[in-house]
Symmetry: C2
Subunit: 176 residues, 2 copies
DNA sequence: CGATGTAGTACGCGACACGAACCACTTGCC
DNA sequence: GGCAAGTGGTTCGTGTCGCGTACTACATCG
């Protein structure tokens, strides 16, 4: 369904071209799986398009439960935490003023609860309600299914390689 | 900056755990690069988190030029096409009614132009203005830089492997 | 105690996305 | 030819999201 997803990158320019300049000629060594017969888009385009695919999958799951991606993420963060608004904002990369509305809407649906902090009378602690817990549990199952479906064409070896490489890339940006 | 990005997946549950069940024990064979020393998050979590990293990078580039991700994507799609609104909507995965506003705002900034189709008096064709072209050109350079920076920790071999695998995954979803 | 900082909220604004309703035109069919 | 059905776009109303600014209440430091 997502056809081009061009992502403002150069994806669409190349249709029957040679591989990207950055990727040394397909060293074609260990290649026996699906990856071997596919035109290499280059790091930039492949990651950009991949990100849109994944986001679309997440959006689909969220929509199935009447949520947006950001709401689903909110619930996800709260699975094992009971942070204040500020901390929550940091986790989601939002401004604290954006959190108020986000939590308001989730609270209105009884997915989330605000409780007064015992140690700081200014602060509130945000936590999942039972319904929130249940919803995020089912959501996680669906996310798992959807993303696994994305990688279904790959061989087991390729999939676990991709997992390792993506993990390594991600690991380089979560420090601090 | 994006700390957890938990993405409603199980990312945050595991902090010091064993690798995911789906990923067979790190076969540690070809491993000499960064990926070898990193905890494997599993396909689902690693791809989810990766997608948020990439989206954040794209959002940063867009913001640098006063655009949103979707606007940047719009310009990207128009780089080598002059589609109608409907087709544009398909490319971006949006409803046609959403396109009107999107193109309106881009047109108001002189990045995009509507012209009457010569063959169908109902249709309009959307194309980039010279300024739109210039902006998307600079944007693409920045996107390239940003995404490459994300993958900077990987070795050349890992990077091109990742590129191949991501390309293969993406290729399985662009058919039709 | 007062000055300064921090946690949250309120408000206004604009972008984004959808569905439903609506024209204007095209196409298919009799 | 002419009408029914389909298609391309827009408009409108609604809701979500995200920001910046301003403001209140409390904490902390001196």
């Amino acid at each position: 369904m997502p056809d081009d997803l061009a992502s403002a990158s150069s994806a669409s320019r190349r249709r029957t071209d040679a591989p990207d300049a950055v990727a040394p000629p397909p060293v074609g060594r260990d290649g026996t799986g699906a990856a071997a017969q596919v035109e290499d888009l280059g790091v930039v385009d492949s990651l950009a398009q991949l990100s849109f695919l994944v986001q679309a999958a997440l959006g689909k799951v969220a929509a199935e439960h009447g949520l947006s991606i950001i709401q689903l993420r909110l619930l996800g963060v709260l699975r094992d935490r009971t942070p204040g608004m500020q901390e929550l904002a940091r986790h989601l990369g939002l401004d604290k003023s954006s959190m108020t509305g986000l939590v308001d809407r989730a609270e209105r649906r009884d997915l989330v609860r605000r409780t007064a902090s015992p140690h700081d009378r200014r602060a509130v602690l945000v936590s999942l309600t039972p319904q929130g817990h249940e919803l995020v549990r089912r959501g996680a199952v669906e996310v798992d299914r959807q993303i696994r479906a994305l990688a279904a064409h790959l061989t087991d070896a390729e999939r676990s390689q991709l997992s390792r490489l993506a993990s390594a890339l991600v690991a380089g940006h979560m420090t601090i």
